[in-house]
């Protein structure tokens, strides 16, 4: 099991680095997060030794940067026909779904690690609570996994990467906006209360914001983990279902 996942994982991860994709992606990620933090987030003007402005923008950063990473997971295999090769190797569908997802997620972890200079900066300038920052990094990584897991499923729906991209963008917007104050109040006005509450509780924003405040609550971490597992299971089901077509 581990060997089989490992084979897929290694191939996928190496695949990011054989093309310029990895370098472009990490550069864009670092530059964009820097720009958002220092310019839009007024990092210096706030004169606070924390990374709140840095992390505040992560959900929106992922909204834009995760779909291009996730769209190729399955759509590309289908487009080039390599899926036929992959699925006739002695691997289970779960092996390949997990291997692909983990590679993308770990790759995201690299991109996140590449933003470390900002952490050093804030430690140089002041005396931040590094526990909170670590928790926020972890939360941010979990959230990126959620975007990716959903994107993996949406990518399995089609062999057109552009369609997969647009679908994950829309999916991302939905799960972000559910917690956005105006949308949340609109939902509460229109829908019965329990349903509205449930939908609002599915928002990435609320869970992520509570983690960035430094509380690694089981409910928030558990939400992201459960979200990832559900979408991965859905991906397995979708890939298997497509076998019949």
């Amino acid at each position: 099991m581990m060997n089989r996942i490992g084979a897929v994982f290694k191939r996928e991860l190496a695949g990011y680095f054989t093309t310029p994709l990895a370098y472009i992606f990490v550069s864009v990620f670092v530059c964009l997060s820097g720009f958002l933090t220092f310019e839009l987030g007024s990092f210096f003007q706030r004169e606070q030794a924390d990374l709140l402005t840095f992390f505040t923008f992560h959900p929106w950063l992922y909204l834009v940067l995760m779909p291009p990473l996730a769209m190729r997971l399955w759509a590309e295999e289908r487009q080039t026909g390599s899926i036929e090769l992959l699925m006739t190797l002695p691997l289970t569908t779960a092996d390949t779904v997990l291997g692909k997802f983990l590679a993308a997620w770990v790759f995201c972890g690299f991109a996140l690690l590449a933003t470390c200079p900002i952490w050093w900066t804030v430690n140089y300038l002041g005396d931040p609570d590094n526990g909170i920052i670590l928790a926020a990094y972890l939360g941010s990584w979990l959230m990126s996994g959620s975007f990716l897991a959903m994107g993996s499923f949406l990518s399995a729906l089609t062999k057109n990467q552009i369609i997969a991209f647009v679908l994950s963008l829309v999916g991302g917007v939905i799960f972000l906006l559910l917690g956005f104050a105006p949308v949340a109040s609109a939902l509460q006005a229109v829908l019965p209360k329990p349903l509205a509450e449930l939908l609002i509780s599915m928002s990435f924003l609320t869970h992520f914001q509570s983690i960035t405040r430094g509380v690694l609550d089981v409910r928030d971490v558990g939400f992201f983990l459960a979200f990832v597992i559900c979408w991965l299971l859905a991906t397995v089901a979708m890939v298997n279902w497509k076998r019949a077509e």
Partner: protein, 331 residues
């Protein structure tokens, strides 16, 4: 047909039982049944869209059949997919691979995914690289290779774990004549103790490498025999081809030959030979020779046809309702 009834151990064969696959309204494969034994090279023949690739995909476990089953050495491809797939080497149609990987790293991935032990991976890769003459391209991205090389990478990948069963979907497509020859040699070599299934639309390939030809038409099995047996069903089987010195078609000799018992018709080929067609494979060489001798005509050449596979192929794959394929005369 004509195969000796040997006792086969059921654990060493491929059994395909009433395999059926439908895409919407289109019947791609229609209750296909086959049993294949080790040492056999079997050729799937059929017009485009006959269901060859669909059948291959179901045997390889890529497509899920609507009904029917495939067992490989007793392992059901749907119920025990991992152990069944381990026995298989598969070249999908068009030889897809991961284009941005180098040949070497692609083969390494296949070795890992197939669970080749770490210590044996390098030697397994070297073996197939040498076998398919990929040495000069092993560090190059697959995308940058010619179609012929890409096809050979696909075959190398299928052979990497030295599988008991090889499924090759159009293995020589895009290869030049020398490469085609080499791949056919390779298939012949592998065949001694393995099951090799190839699909092709090249008839001479079947004659060159297959002991058994299975013709599929509209998803159904329409012929299953050795190429020689199939050719015996041809109109041309036992036909006598004569190259005669300057004798016109309306001559006495022509009429005399036409009236020979067992002769159906005589046609003149584009290159000027006479083709004496027998009635249903009757041997007519000797009577034809006797007439020639009696008239003291010495032919430049005389040959008996073994029958023609394309003729049989056309006959069994013709749409019974339409006239889409006309029986072409001449050679």
């Amino acid at each position: 047909m004509g195969r000796s009834q040997r006792e086969w151990n059921h654990t060493f064969m491929i059994e395909i039982q009433s395999l059926t696959k439908r895409f919407g309204q289109f019947m791609a494969v229609d209750s296909l049944s086959l049993t294949i034994h080790p040492g056999e090279v079997i050729g799937f023949l059929g017009p485009n869209g006959a269901g060859k690739s669909t059948t291959m995909r179901m045997i390889a476990g890529f497509l899920k059949p609507d009904s029917g089953r495939v067992t490989i050495f007793g392992q059901d491809i749907e119920l025990q997919p991992l152990s069944a797939k381990r026995l298989l080497g598969y070249l999908p149609e068009g030889a897809p691979s991961y284009g941005d990987m180098s040949v070497e790293s692609f083969l390494r991935f296949i070795a890992e995914a197939r669970g080749v032990a770490r210590q044996q991976r390098q030697s397994a890769i070297d073996r197939v690289v040498n076998r398919l003459h990929l040495q000069e391209v092993r560090r190059r991205p697959i995308d940058t290779l010619s179609k012929g090389f890409q096809r050979r990478v696909g075959i190398a990948q299928a052979l990497l774990h030295d599988p008991q069963v090889l499924l090759l979907d159009e293995p020589t497509d895009g290869l030049d004549p020398n490469q085609k020859y080499e791949v056919r040699e390779l298939i012949r070599e592998l065949a001694s103790d393995k099951i090799v299934i190839i699909s092709t639309h090249i008839l001479e390939e079947v004659e060159a490498v297959c002991q058994r030809a299975v013709i599929i038409h509209q998803g159904r099995l329409v012929a299953d025999a050795t190429p020689a047996e199939l050719k015996m069903q041809s109109d041309y089987y036992q036909a006598v081809e004569l190259e005669l010195p300057n004798i016109s078609t309306g001559s006495d000799l022509w009429r005399q030959l036409e009236q020979l018992p067992g002769v159906k018709a005589i046609t003149r080929t584009e290159t000027g030979q006479w083709l004496v067609m027998p009635q249903q494979g009757e041997p007519i060489l000797q009577p034809v020779q006797a007439i020639l001798e009696a008239r003291s005509v010495t032919p430049h050449s005389i040959a008996v046809s073994n029958g023609r596979l394309d003729d049989v192929f056309r006959r069994v794959t013709q749409d019974p309702a339409g006239h889409s394929l006309t029986q072409a005369g001449g050679l």
